[in-house]
Symmetry: D2
Subunit: 203 residues, 4 copies
């Protein structure tokens, strides 16, 4: 039976929840016949995030790793295509780090592609009635940092693992009182979308 | 026991569903202790929409009338404040009418205020964790037309009725495949928001 | 020769310039053969704005009054259609007033229409290659307040004056450093658009 | 004296003008004391665009290459950071090609960084009062294709050349009649911004 490691960040940037972790934690108690899902919370901290993910991959020995992050302001599930080898933070991470134009892995390539079946994932989520699209940038904050670190681990240490990153919108409650209004997506919708992503990835 | 008439339009503008009617039809079979909800579908047609609503109000004899419409592209529940006495269509309605700069009621005032407790409704929806705000324009298509017609009926024929209009976002399925991505809101979230609006209105 | 009174607000909401005044002041020294333009700066203050405008109208005795305001975040020239009889401020004005749900004119109608030829203005600006559209809401801050006050003055005291309100985007410099990026429009483009509006109004 | 090759695409996607070429052609007749600008129009066609650029670089022997493209919908000057090794078209190019998930250069790296001083360019444009920001994606259409091709040429054939890509907004005239309204920027503002970019690049 295939093993899936699903990760989500803790809250950052003044938010008290992170939809990524809310979605991920839903899979903690969900049994599936065809695969097994292990979940892990990742700190929104440069370097430390990759360390936590590395230990989790070594512990869990997954076939598939899907990392989730919050993309406040986006309207749909965005399946990231590419991670780039640079940290360039506009706000501090959860431990106050704010790297500017720093390389993530000294001898790493400029970019890594997601090794998830991103087109199949996007098509399957859309078929289930939930808006999704391919995204061409995971930013240059901790989301892209972790995504790059994950793909580098896969490239150098876990060649049989498939992995990638998916950005999700705010939860409705995170947008209450904002002006102008911002798009959001319900927890159950996002959980269903990520379930579609997992199924497409273990296929 | 107070009676609430809840209305929603049929699909228009190339859509096969209208979230307004999807939400409204959910209340068809929902029993409440403190109030009773009657539902009515309204055709997205100038004039005819007001006629259908007029008959429904005469039949149901409601204490509160809440009309719902789709506001594609908006991110939150928008509680309309004011209806204006003009039709100015950018697309044809469902029977091909496309009035330009026409007055709705010949001797009617330039505008009517919603007589729903719009601030309380907005606050209560927000308190329930769902984004909502006051909107200052219901447009100049059939939504504003019906809203103006409703307030005119109330002003001239049903002075004890409270009534108003609420715009709701697209359902997620309506935004699948759109580029760029558009905001949406789940049916259950919108149903809960409208339930909050009803409760605030019958209070 | 027809006389035009053109007004623009002083800066508010933390801005150091107001594009409305920047545009208006450009007309101070612009001689035209067919009409004469007088300009007046208006304080972004409830009540006082209307008082200053009233005195200016009595002094200038214009045939046409066009008031301009900044609509940060909008992309095009928006020619306002309707002013509503309510003040509802989300931020304080320049003297700290923040009225909530207050009527502007006690016995005034719920709304006044612009008496400018708004469709002709919009079409002429578009024909000159500049994006423009009819707007259905001037908000509930000082812009709508002044617009309502202007139309009330016209209705009650100056029946031969044509008047209305036009909202304009940020100037490019006001959007420098904003994240996410916001739309703007150059001063010379806005000046040309307002010149088109004046010409259409005095025709 | 340093030589700058400035390129802009021909119109595509139903547009009759391309702001990129409008800006570029402005530099045809502009003499500068410190550098010389040569301009070249590039066809919005996969492969052919790179061929035309290659010939131009061989002819002109520039020190700096800056390629411009239209990014309809963006509000500011966006200085691209990274080109990725994939073509994935949502619309056909000007010769009907619509590659899906194709590699641009068979043995090329996954991505190339711009070798322009992107932070200095962005800062200088902002200092001149024009909004600009770093962009993390040039898309997967012909803009990214040319950008990747340019950086590959530099990496393999012209190691002393600095080069990169800048996306610019629509011109005002391109947004006339659009609903909803879209952001635009004036030609003279964009010309000034690109002049700042050239000066920062030849420094």
């Amino acid at each position: 039976m295939k093993k899936v490691l699903l990760t989500g960040f803790d809250p950052f940037g003044g938010e008290v929840i992170n939809p990524a972790w809310e979605v991920v934690s839903h899979f903690q108690s969900k049994p599936y016949d065809e695969f097994e899902v292990e979940v892990k919370q990742i700190p929104t901290v440069f370097r430390k995030s990759i360390e936590v993910l590395t230990r989790a991959i070594r512990d869990v020995q997954p076939d598939v790793v899907i990392s989730l992050g919050q993309a406040g302001g986006r309207s749909d599930i965005s399946v990231e295509r590419v991670a780039i080898n640079v940290d360039d933070a506009m706000i501090p991470d959860n431990e106050g780090n704010k790297p500017i134009d720093e390389i993530i892995v000294a001898d790493g390539p400029s970019a890594y592609w997601s090794s998830l079946p991103i087109k199949a994932i996007t098509a399957d989520i859309c078929k289930s009635g939930i808006p999704a699209s391919i995204s061409l940038s995971a930013g240059t904050f901790v989301c892209n940092h972790l995504f790059y670190g994950l793909q580098h681990m896969i490239a150098t240490e876990f060649p049989n693992v498939k992995g990638g990153f998916i950005h999700i919108p705010y939860l409705p409650i995170q947008t209450v009182g904002r002006w102008p209004a911002m798009p959001s997506m319900s927890l159950d919708v996002m959980v269903k979308a990520i379930e579609m992503a997992i199924i497409a990835s273990v296929r």
